[in-house]
């Protein structure tokens, strides 16, 4: 395999299930390589078959171990599994690398599993855009279950979680997170709640707290959000959790929710790309010194950000 592999060759390879072209294609997508567009166009056209499962939760909830055990469970069921571990980009959470290494050991050598860590946030709409694109590549390459692991610590990480078809929120018994999660809009994100490390004290209490909170809310859909207990380190509850995901997939399909939800995701992706293009074109069309001059006029307080942005974009349009 030469370094100067042509993208057509690479696409043929990854569609045939070869790992080296797949790895390279993903790198190209992540790095916004000039040939990434051709790869993405092909992969997008062939995507839509894989179930994309988002796994999110606070640092220390045991997400990496859970994802590993879920992958093993899906392999037993005959599915192929891609794992997309999204680096939180936060300076304060550093479990990702270690988690990866542990995972590697248990899953290494299985040709039906592909693990990829993502960190790069490029110019074209950030991490959520890249994650969705990488999932398209895995989808086109024939992986049937894609597990997207994110540390749910900030807004951008939640946006990544929301690129999935179905999303599990993983908590631990002793965290007071359960009630917080209810407050902070996690109800809108979670299709499944998981209390991991539930061999620890307080697991039942955490489950009940979440169930109570769920019952207080008006029923927004026919899907009754399950609250599952797992002990990822031993594998306890993982098979049941996989069942729940599959049940949710059936539910999504039967009710038309899957189509509606995927359409919303596509609209968001389109918006992200359009926004990036508009900005890129704006910069291309701007006179060479106009930007620096505008910044200088702000620094000198001759203009306000509101006035300068209006002037540079030709006035009108947005208020603000």
């Amino acid at each position: 395999m030469t370094h100067e592999m042509h993208h057509a060759e690479l696409i043929d390879g990854l569609l045939a299930g070869a790992r080296v072209p797949l790895a390279r294609a993903i790198s190209w997508v992540e790095n916004e390589h000039p040939d990434a567009a051709a790869i993405l166009d092909t992969c997008f056209a062939r995507s839509g078959r894989a179930l994309r499962i988002g796994i999110t939760g606070p640092p220390g909830a045991g997400k990496s171990t859970l994802v590993t055990k879920l992958a093993l469970e899906y392999r037993r069921r005959g599915e192929t599994v891609a794992i997309v571990a999204v680096d939180p980009t936060s300076p304060f959470s550093g479990g990702a690398l270690l988690g990866d290494r542990v995972r590697m050991l248990e899953l290494s050598g299985d040709p039906g599993v592909f693990i990829r860590s993502m960190a790069t946030r490029g110019s074209l709409g950030g991490l959520a855009v890249h994650t969705a694109q990488v999932c398209d590549v895995f989808d086109a390459a024939g992986y049937s279950r894609i597990l997207i692991e994110t540390v749910g610590v900030g807004q951008s990480e939640l946006e990544v979680a929301q690129t999935a078809d179905t999303t599990a929120v993983v908590l631990v018994p002793e965290s007071g997170d359960a009630v917080q999660a209810m407050k902070a809009g996690l109800m809108e994100i979670a299709d499944v709640f998981v209390i991991n490390k539930s061999d620890r004290e307080g697991a039942e209490r955490a489950v009940h707290a979440i169930r109570s909170a769920l019952e207080l809310r008006a029923k927004l859909s026919e899907w009754r959000i399950p609250v599952e207990q797992t002990v990822a380190s031993t594998g306890r509850g993982v098979s049941t959790l996989a069942d729940r995901f599959e049940e949710h997939l059936v539910f999504l399909g039967e009710t038309g929710t899957l189509e509606r939800r995927r359409r919303l995701r596509l609209a968001q992706r389109l918006e992200d790309l359009v926004r990036a293009r508009l900005w890129a074109r704006f910069r291309e069309e701007l006179a060479p010194d106009a930007w620096d001059e505008a910044v200088a006029s702000l620094a000198a307080r001759r203009e306000t950000p509101h006035q300068a942005s209006g002037r540079l974009t030709g006035g009108g349009g947005a208020k603000g």
Copy 2:
């Protein structure tokens, strides 16, 4: 004071130091009220005098207590203090509200302190834009020290931290965060490191770990990043920390760094506003059904996101 206060009246009030118009002006900014633009234009023109200090760090580092004690210290020094506590918007960190209440007790009744929690992320560029705008309002209202507290857990929170003139990263002794912080690019953000709760074991070790890491790096500037120990709950080290901020302010001013840094911040604010305006105008000019049709063509795989975004923006421009 009537509900239908005119913005001119409100501006006069806040510039004169009145608290009710100030509170209302900030709400208008946060909610993107139609009259917010007029307020912001006036406030921006009168801003630039306050020192903006960012305080960031992981949940549980004691940032709220530290900010409270810093405010008290600054009051003793005759400064007026605005506190902008940025809600992390994360479903998993919920200390903000409690921190606020504790703070209120110690600072309440002092007319030289104004505390504001922020959570709203509007359409015009998100939390960082709003934070900068609210700081402009405090600045124009005459507050001389603005403390911007953020939970440094995600990218968007770090962007908020970076709206400040000087930024302190707060860690605790027992966290293994010190080394992680070094890895993850916090060096670029921190002007001052703080080991809070340093009456606990391991504080010296944490200080040395950070100092060693700092020494390994090439000197990028004349500023030698201090690593301070504090016990915010008792106030230990807080006065020294305030000294460091003031020394950094002097350094920033003498070396021209303050002007360069503020210019970078303004450029970022301008970019955020231009991006928001470009998108708003794009949506206004788009034919009513064109967006839904594009999303439908994506769902049917007749077009890819790349193709559709190119078509809708008139081709050319950005690659990707």
